[in-house]
Amino acid sequence: MASILPAGTLAPEFSLHVTPDQKLSLSELRGKPVILAFYPADWSPVCGDQMALYNEILPEFQKHGAELVGISVDGVWSHAAFAKDRHLHFPLAADFEPKGEVARSYGAYRSDDGVTERALFVIDKNGVIAWSYCSPLAINPGAEGILQALEDLPK
Protein backbone atom coordinates (compact mmCIF):
# COMPACT_ATOMS: atom_id res chain seq x y z
CA MET A 1 0.00 0.00 0.00
CA ALA A 2 1.29 3.44 -0.83
CA SER A 3 2.19 5.83 1.94
CA ILE A 4 -0.41 8.57 1.73
CA LEU A 5 0.10 12.13 2.92
CA PRO A 6 -0.55 12.39 6.66
CA ALA A 7 -2.49 14.95 8.67
CA GLY A 8 -0.71 18.27 9.02
CA THR A 9 0.56 18.31 5.42
CA LEU A 10 -0.49 21.08 3.07
CA ALA A 11 -2.84 19.49 0.52
CA PRO A 12 -1.21 19.59 -2.93
CA GLU A 13 -3.02 21.88 -5.34
CA PHE A 14 -4.66 20.35 -8.41
CA SER A 15 -6.80 21.39 -11.30
CA LEU A 16 -8.71 18.55 -12.94
CA HIS A 17 -11.56 18.18 -15.37
CA VAL A 18 -14.87 17.41 -13.70
CA THR A 19 -16.84 17.68 -16.95
CA PRO A 20 -15.60 17.75 -20.55
CA ASP A 21 -15.46 21.55 -20.50
CA GLN A 22 -15.04 22.39 -16.82
CA LYS A 23 -12.11 22.15 -14.45
CA LEU A 24 -12.09 22.19 -10.67
CA SER A 25 -9.12 23.41 -8.62
CA LEU A 26 -8.64 22.61 -4.97
CA SER A 27 -7.87 26.29 -4.31
CA GLU A 28 -11.38 27.22 -5.50
CA LEU A 29 -12.69 25.35 -2.47
CA ARG A 30 -10.49 27.17 0.04
CA GLY A 31 -12.50 28.40 3.00
CA LYS A 32 -14.52 25.19 3.35
CA PRO A 33 -13.61 21.70 4.45
CA VAL A 34 -12.99 19.42 1.46
CA ILE A 35 -13.34 15.66 1.34
CA LEU A 36 -11.19 14.04 -1.35
CA ALA A 37 -12.20 10.46 -2.03
CA PHE A 38 -9.73 8.67 -4.30
CA TYR A 39 -11.22 5.43 -5.62
CA PRO A 40 -9.80 2.90 -8.06
CA ALA A 41 -12.34 2.99 -10.86
CA ASP A 42 -15.79 3.98 -12.05
CA TRP A 43 -18.17 1.04 -12.47
CA SER A 44 -16.49 -1.57 -10.30
CA PRO A 45 -19.16 -2.79 -7.87
CA VAL A 46 -17.26 -1.88 -4.71
CA CYS A 47 -16.68 1.69 -5.90
CA GLY A 48 -20.32 1.99 -6.81
CA ASP A 49 -21.18 1.09 -3.26
CA GLN A 50 -18.75 3.58 -1.79
CA MET A 51 -19.82 6.43 -4.05
CA ALA A 52 -23.50 5.52 -3.64
CA LEU A 53 -23.02 5.65 0.11
CA TYR A 54 -21.34 9.07 0.01
CA ASN A 55 -24.08 10.28 -2.29
CA GLU A 56 -26.64 9.36 0.37
CA ILE A 57 -24.58 10.83 3.18
CA LEU A 58 -23.92 14.05 1.27
CA PRO A 59 -26.46 16.03 3.37
CA GLU A 60 -24.51 15.05 6.51
CA PHE A 61 -21.26 16.24 4.93
CA GLN A 62 -22.97 19.45 3.90
CA LYS A 63 -24.05 20.10 7.48
CA HIS A 64 -20.35 20.69 8.10
CA GLY A 65 -20.18 22.94 5.05
CA ALA A 66 -17.93 20.38 3.39
CA GLU A 67 -17.44 19.77 -0.33
CA LEU A 68 -16.95 16.20 -1.55
CA VAL A 69 -14.86 15.43 -4.64
CA GLY A 70 -14.37 11.91 -5.99
CA ILE A 71 -11.14 11.27 -7.93
CA SER A 72 -10.08 8.39 -10.12
CA VAL A 73 -7.97 7.93 -13.25
CA ASP A 74 -11.08 7.45 -15.38
CA GLY A 75 -11.71 10.00 -18.10
CA VAL A 76 -14.43 12.64 -18.05
CA TRP A 77 -16.81 10.71 -20.29
CA SER A 78 -16.68 7.66 -18.08
CA HIS A 79 -17.20 9.89 -15.04
CA ALA A 80 -20.15 11.58 -16.72
CA ALA A 81 -21.82 8.27 -17.56
CA PHE A 82 -21.09 6.84 -14.10
CA ALA A 83 -22.40 9.92 -12.30
CA LYS A 84 -25.55 9.91 -14.41
CA ASP A 85 -26.17 6.21 -13.91
CA ARG A 86 -25.77 6.45 -10.12
CA HIS A 87 -27.39 9.89 -9.77
CA LEU A 88 -24.32 11.25 -8.04
CA HIS A 89 -24.70 14.79 -6.71
CA PHE A 90 -21.01 15.61 -6.28
CA PRO A 91 -18.18 16.14 -8.79
CA LEU A 92 -15.92 13.35 -10.03
CA ALA A 93 -12.49 14.62 -11.05
CA ALA A 94 -10.54 12.90 -13.82
CA ASP A 95 -6.89 12.29 -12.86
CA PHE A 96 -6.44 11.25 -16.44
CA GLU A 97 -3.62 13.24 -18.04
CA PRO A 98 -0.87 12.91 -16.97
CA LYS A 99 -2.42 9.76 -15.59
CA GLY A 100 -2.54 9.60 -11.82
CA GLU A 101 -0.41 12.71 -11.31
CA VAL A 102 -2.63 14.12 -8.56
CA ALA A 103 -2.95 10.73 -6.86
CA ARG A 104 0.87 10.48 -6.89
CA SER A 105 1.17 13.88 -5.25
CA TYR A 106 -1.04 12.59 -2.39
CA GLY A 107 0.88 9.30 -2.19
CA ALA A 108 -2.24 7.50 -3.34
CA TYR A 109 -1.23 5.99 -6.68
CA ARG A 110 -0.67 2.30 -7.33
CA SER A 111 1.90 2.19 -10.13
CA ASP A 112 1.65 -1.58 -10.53
CA ASP A 113 -2.09 -1.46 -11.08
CA GLY A 114 -2.36 1.92 -12.76
CA VAL A 115 -5.17 3.02 -10.45
CA THR A 116 -5.46 5.16 -7.35
CA GLU A 117 -5.66 3.77 -3.86
CA ARG A 118 -8.97 3.86 -2.04
CA ALA A 119 -7.76 6.82 -0.01
CA LEU A 120 -9.67 9.49 1.88
CA PHE A 121 -8.51 12.97 2.82
CA VAL A 122 -10.32 15.58 4.85
CA ILE A 123 -8.77 18.98 4.17
CA ASP A 124 -9.51 21.90 6.46
CA LYS A 125 -10.62 25.34 5.33
CA ASN A 126 -6.99 26.49 5.17
CA GLY A 127 -5.98 23.73 2.78
CA VAL A 128 -4.20 21.55 5.33
CA ILE A 129 -4.88 17.83 5.53
CA ALA A 130 -6.71 17.24 8.81
CA TRP A 131 -7.20 13.49 8.41
CA SER A 132 -6.26 10.83 5.90
CA TYR A 133 -6.99 7.15 5.56
CA CYS A 134 -6.02 4.48 3.07
CA SER A 135 -8.37 1.51 2.90
CA PRO A 136 -7.52 -1.91 1.49
CA LEU A 137 -8.53 -1.72 -2.17
CA ALA A 138 -11.38 -4.21 -1.87
CA ILE A 139 -12.89 -2.69 1.27
CA ASN A 140 -15.40 0.13 1.30
CA PRO A 141 -14.11 2.44 4.05
CA GLY A 142 -17.57 3.84 4.72
CA ALA A 143 -18.16 7.34 6.01
CA GLU A 144 -17.65 7.16 9.76
CA GLY A 145 -14.01 8.28 9.57
CA ILE A 146 -14.93 11.25 7.40
CA LEU A 147 -17.79 12.25 9.69
CA GLN A 148 -15.56 12.00 12.75
CA ALA A 149 -12.83 14.06 11.05
CA LEU A 150 -15.34 16.74 10.07
CA GLU A 151 -16.62 16.87 13.63
CA ASP A 152 -13.09 17.18 14.98
CA LEU A 153 -12.26 20.20 12.79
CA PRO A 154 -11.85 23.39 14.80
CA LYS A 155 -15.00 25.46 14.49
Binding site: D49, Q50, A52, L53, N55, E56, I57, E60, R86, H87, L88, H89, N140, P141, G142, A143, E144, L147
Partner: protein, 173 residues
Protein backbone atom coordinates in the same frame (compact mmCIF):
# COMPACT_ATOMS: atom_id res chain seq x y z
CA UNK B 1 -13.41 -2.00 14.43
CA UNK B 2 -16.78 -0.43 13.83
CA UNK B 3 -19.27 -0.27 16.65
CA UNK B 4 -22.90 0.59 16.84
CA UNK B 5 -22.95 4.28 17.73
CA UNK B 6 -26.65 4.34 18.60
CA UNK B 7 -27.35 1.71 21.27
CA UNK B 8 -30.38 -0.53 20.93
CA UNK B 9 -33.28 1.03 22.81
CA UNK B 10 -37.03 0.86 23.21
CA UNK B 11 -37.30 3.13 20.16
CA UNK B 12 -36.11 0.24 18.02
CA UNK B 13 -38.22 -2.40 16.36
CA UNK B 14 -37.17 -5.58 18.11
CA UNK B 15 -38.22 -9.19 17.74
CA UNK B 16 -37.40 -11.04 20.93
CA UNK B 17 -36.39 -10.19 24.46
CA UNK B 18 -34.32 -7.02 25.01
CA UNK B 19 -32.43 -8.99 27.68
CA UNK B 20 -31.45 -11.81 25.27
CA UNK B 21 -27.72 -12.66 25.43
CA UNK B 22 -27.30 -11.80 21.77
CA UNK B 23 -28.83 -8.92 19.85
CA UNK B 24 -28.48 -8.90 16.09
CA UNK B 25 -29.02 -5.51 14.46
CA UNK B 26 -29.50 -5.21 10.71
CA UNK B 27 -29.26 -1.98 8.74
CA UNK B 28 -31.22 -2.65 5.59
CA UNK B 29 -32.94 -1.28 2.51
CA UNK B 30 -36.23 -2.78 1.31
CA UNK B 31 -35.20 -2.45 -2.34
CA UNK B 32 -31.74 -3.99 -1.88
CA UNK B 33 -31.58 -7.48 -3.39
CA UNK B 34 -28.96 -8.54 -0.84
CA UNK B 35 -31.34 -7.59 1.97
CA UNK B 36 -34.05 -9.74 0.41
CA UNK B 37 -31.49 -12.53 0.26
CA UNK B 38 -30.61 -12.02 3.94
CA UNK B 39 -34.26 -12.03 5.03
CA UNK B 40 -34.79 -15.83 5.17
CA UNK B 41 -31.31 -16.20 6.68
CA UNK B 42 -32.35 -13.98 9.59
CA UNK B 43 -35.52 -16.06 10.02
CA UNK B 44 -33.39 -19.21 10.04
CA UNK B 45 -31.09 -17.70 12.68
CA UNK B 46 -34.08 -16.80 14.83
CA UNK B 47 -35.34 -20.38 14.63
CA UNK B 48 -31.90 -21.79 15.32
CA UNK B 49 -31.08 -19.63 18.36
CA UNK B 50 -34.60 -19.22 19.70
CA UNK B 51 -34.81 -17.06 22.83
CA UNK B 52 -31.06 -16.51 22.95
CA UNK B 53 -31.27 -14.15 19.98
CA UNK B 54 -33.18 -10.91 19.50
CA UNK B 55 -33.36 -9.07 16.21
CA UNK B 56 -33.50 -5.34 15.50
CA UNK B 57 -34.05 -3.80 12.07
CA UNK B 58 -33.00 -0.24 11.24
CA UNK B 59 -33.50 1.61 7.98
CA UNK B 60 -30.64 2.41 5.65
CA UNK B 61 -32.34 3.25 2.34
CA UNK B 62 -30.01 4.06 -0.57
CA UNK B 63 -32.54 6.38 -2.10
CA UNK B 64 -30.48 7.53 -5.06
CA UNK B 65 -30.15 4.05 -6.50
CA UNK B 66 -33.34 2.54 -5.05
CA UNK B 67 -36.28 4.89 -5.66
CA UNK B 68 -38.74 2.74 -3.64
CA UNK B 69 -36.47 2.19 -0.66
CA UNK B 70 -37.53 5.33 1.21
CA UNK B 71 -41.32 5.02 0.76
CA UNK B 72 -41.05 1.32 1.63
CA UNK B 73 -39.17 2.17 4.84
CA UNK B 74 -41.80 4.79 5.67
CA UNK B 75 -44.59 2.27 4.96
CA UNK B 76 -43.00 -0.15 7.44
CA UNK B 77 -42.77 2.64 10.02
CA UNK B 78 -46.41 3.53 9.37
CA UNK B 79 -47.35 -0.07 10.12
CA UNK B 80 -44.98 0.01 13.11
CA UNK B 81 -46.83 2.97 14.60
CA UNK B 82 -49.85 0.66 14.67
CA UNK B 83 -48.04 -2.33 16.08
CA UNK B 84 -47.57 -4.14 12.78
CA UNK B 85 -43.98 -3.33 11.87
CA UNK B 86 -42.74 -6.88 11.50
CA UNK B 87 -45.68 -8.02 9.40
CA UNK B 88 -45.12 -5.15 6.99
CA UNK B 89 -41.33 -5.63 7.10
CA UNK B 90 -41.67 -9.27 6.07
CA UNK B 91 -44.21 -8.55 3.35
CA UNK B 92 -42.11 -5.77 1.83
CA UNK B 93 -39.02 -7.95 1.60
CA UNK B 94 -40.98 -10.92 0.31
CA UNK B 95 -42.57 -8.76 -2.40
CA UNK B 96 -39.52 -6.71 -3.24
CA UNK B 97 -39.92 -7.17 -6.97
CA UNK B 98 -43.27 -5.41 -6.91
CA UNK B 99 -42.43 -2.45 -4.64
CA UNK B 100 -44.57 0.56 -5.46
CA UNK B 101 -47.64 2.49 -4.38
CA UNK B 102 -50.01 -0.27 -5.53
CA UNK B 103 -48.19 -2.85 -3.44
CA UNK B 104 -48.10 -0.57 -0.38
CA UNK B 105 -51.90 -0.15 -0.53
CA UNK B 106 -52.41 -3.85 -1.07
CA UNK B 107 -50.21 -4.73 1.90
CA UNK B 108 -51.93 -2.15 4.12
CA UNK B 109 -55.28 -3.74 3.32
CA UNK B 110 -53.97 -7.24 3.93
CA UNK B 111 -52.76 -6.11 7.38
CA UNK B 112 -56.10 -4.41 8.10
CA UNK B 113 -54.49 -0.97 8.03
CA UNK B 114 -55.99 2.00 6.23
CA UNK B 115 -54.62 2.29 2.70
CA UNK B 116 -55.68 5.96 2.39
CA UNK B 117 -53.97 6.78 5.71
CA UNK B 118 -50.80 5.08 4.51
CA UNK B 119 -50.97 7.02 1.27
CA UNK B 120 -51.37 10.27 3.21
CA UNK B 121 -48.48 9.39 5.54
CA UNK B 122 -46.22 8.79 2.54
CA UNK B 123 -47.38 11.98 0.91
CA UNK B 124 -46.72 14.02 4.06
CA UNK B 125 -43.46 12.16 4.70
CA UNK B 126 -44.73 11.61 8.22
CA UNK B 127 -42.11 8.98 8.99
CA UNK B 128 -39.20 10.46 7.06
CA UNK B 129 -37.39 11.89 10.09
CA UNK B 130 -37.49 8.51 11.80
CA UNK B 131 -35.99 6.83 8.73
CA UNK B 132 -33.34 9.55 8.38
CA UNK B 133 -32.39 9.18 12.04
CA UNK B 134 -31.78 5.46 11.47
CA UNK B 135 -29.72 6.26 8.39
CA UNK B 136 -27.55 8.87 10.11
CA UNK B 137 -26.89 6.58 13.07
CA UNK B 138 -25.89 3.86 10.61
CA UNK B 139 -23.49 6.12 8.75
CA UNK B 140 -21.85 6.99 12.09
CA UNK B 141 -21.57 3.31 12.99
CA UNK B 142 -19.69 2.25 9.88
CA UNK B 143 -22.58 0.97 7.83
CA UNK B 144 -21.11 1.09 4.34
CA UNK B 145 -23.68 -0.81 2.37
CA UNK B 146 -26.68 -3.02 2.91
CA UNK B 147 -27.26 -5.26 4.65
CA UNK B 148 -24.85 -4.50 7.49
CA UNK B 149 -25.18 -6.57 10.65
CA UNK B 150 -24.04 -5.80 14.19
CA UNK B 151 -23.73 -8.57 16.75
CA UNK B 152 -23.92 -7.23 20.31
CA UNK B 153 -22.85 -3.86 18.99
CA UNK B 154 -19.87 -5.00 16.91
CA UNK B 155 -20.03 -4.82 13.14
CA UNK B 156 -20.02 -8.22 11.47
CA UNK B 157 -17.54 -7.90 8.62
CA UNK B 158 -17.74 -11.28 6.94
CA UNK B 159 -20.32 -12.95 4.75
CA UNK B 160 -23.94 -12.82 5.88
CA UNK B 161 -24.73 -16.37 4.79
CA UNK B 162 -26.22 -18.50 7.59
CA UNK B 163 -23.05 -20.40 8.51
CA UNK B 164 -20.99 -17.26 8.94
CA UNK B 165 -23.57 -15.29 10.90
CA UNK B 166 -24.44 -18.24 13.13
CA UNK B 167 -20.78 -18.84 13.91
CA UNK B 168 -20.31 -15.18 14.82
CA UNK B 169 -23.42 -15.27 17.02
CA UNK B 170 -22.21 -18.45 18.77
CA UNK B 171 -19.00 -16.64 19.61
CA UNK B 172 -20.91 -13.70 21.06
CA UNK B 173 -23.10 -15.92 23.26
Amino acid sequence: MSKLSVPVSTKDHMEGDPAAPCILVEYGDYQCPHCAHAHPIVKQLQLHFGKRLSFVFRNFPLTQIHPWAEPAAEAAEFAGAQGKFWQMHDLLLENQRNLGDALFSQLAISLELSAPQLEAALEEQAFRSRVRADFTGGARSGVNGTPTFFINGQRHNGSFEFDFLSEAIEKAL
